[in-house]
């Protein structure tokens, strides 16, 4: 990571005091947060609380990418937007809120969809990505670019009253990637979105906050501390035992994204993503050639 000099102003010392006295953070951790550059892909139900708490914690550069505009049906769960900003681009609405919460971070707006054309260029500017999106195709794209760029992914998802969280490619090249866990996409007809299936606001909010916690742990980690096996956290608001921690597989030697596949031609490369050879929409069972994810 970038070890550039950063300083904390007196206002920042006061603002972050309650977290800087934690041994897990300290002044060192606060400096790491200020040095860090985090990209939040999707500022919906997951991205809203994740962005709020990461901005609050003092992440130095916070990029937000989303091509959507605010609708009133978003507001039961997308709590950094507002009724007065209905119709505005979500990215603009989010940064309006974030800047008033904490003026210190450098907020980078990306009012566009993440695509095979722009993903490499955009993600090159960040050290960590939060996958707060809502479709498998874009989840595979984020994964492949993050693996190429050597950055960890904090991935979460939610539907109805359930949520799931997993940290991937962490540390880069060591932990499993999205394709290690899900080598084949789900059949298109099995994919249900929040529009169709519904979503309880605080359930997706909980998953987004958990992404912020994992991001802070990654950014402030004592490099000496070893990272154990990858786990996946399940949440079920109406389950008898609402939280479950699952022990997941490790990195796959033959993974087409992060490993060395037997057929060399299958290996996903920067060039393969850039020149449009990878059709993520078709891969996930959508119409081939559709670039919009």
């Amino acid at each position: 990571a970038n070890k550039s000099e950063v300083k904390l102003s007196l206002e920042e010392y006061k603002r972050y005091g309650r977290q800087m006295i934690l041994p897990e953070i300290g002044i060192e951790g606060q400096m790491s947060l200020k040095r860090s550059r985090v990209l939040i892909v999707g500022v919906g139900g997951l991205g809203c609380p994740a962005a709020a708490y990461l901005a609050g914690a003092g992440v130095g550069t916070l990029g937000v990418i989303d091509h959507d505009t605010v609708e009133n049906s978003n507001l039961h769960r997308q709590i950094i937007h507002s009724t007065s900003r209905v119709g505005a681009p979500k990215v603009v609405s989010a940064i309006t809120y974030l800047r008033d919460l904490n003026p210190h971070p450098n907020y980078v707006p990306h009012v566009e969809p993440l695509t095979t054309e722009n993903a490499l260029q955009i993600m090159a500017e960040y050290d960590l990505v939060l996958d707060c999106t809502d479709h498998p195709a874009i989840r595979y794209l984020i994964n492949d670019v993050a693996v190429v760029m050597n950055i960890p992914i904090v991935s979460a998802s939610a539907l109805r009253t359930d949520g799931q969280l997993i940290v991937l490619n962490n540390p880069p090249g060591v932990g499993p990637c999205y394709r290690c866990v899900w080598p084949r996409p789900p059949p298109a007809e099995s994919v249900v979105g929040c529009g169709e299936g519904g979503i309880l606001g605080p359930v997706v909010g909980l998953m987004g906050i958990m992404q912020a916690i994992e991001a802070i742990k990654i950014i402030t980690k004592n490099p000496a501390r070893d990272i154990g096996r990858t786990t996946m956290t399940l949440f079920a608001a109406y389950g008898a035992s609402p939280f479950r921690c699952l022990k997941m597989r490790g990195k796959k030697a033959g993974c087409v994204a992060c490993g060395s596949p037997e057929r060399v031609g299958e290996k996903i490369t920067r060039e393969g993503i850039e020149d449009g050879r990878m059709d993520y929409v078709a891969f996930c069972g959508g119409r081939a050639g559709m670039r919009e994810l």
Binding site: T133, L159, P186, G197, L234, R244, L246, K247
Partner: protein
Amino acid sequence: MGEQQDPSADEVGCKLISLNIEFSGGLEMLFSNQRSHRIQIPVKDSSEQPANVGFLVRHLCENLMKDKRKDLFVLEDRIRPGILVLINDADWELEGEEEYLIQDGDTILFVSTLHGG
């Protein structure tokens, strides 16, 4: 839900093992909207092989699944892509996938991966 010490036997004297089957991420909707099921299966499959997860999946499809849309659970006789299988809360990849031999008292969890956000 304590572990049973001895497998019980059904009327025809065929040995049974008890296990907990759980569904999450919406899969429960295919199984009578119930997240947790306590079931018994034969110790051996029809070809006298010890019951493994592959056999369990076929058994669930035929006996526990009331929903007609089988392809939301299995494709070509195997768990469809997008479903994770956990054996006692560990990824089945760590346990041998379909080949894992079911033990009495095991908990097998099927999780449909969510994509919403």
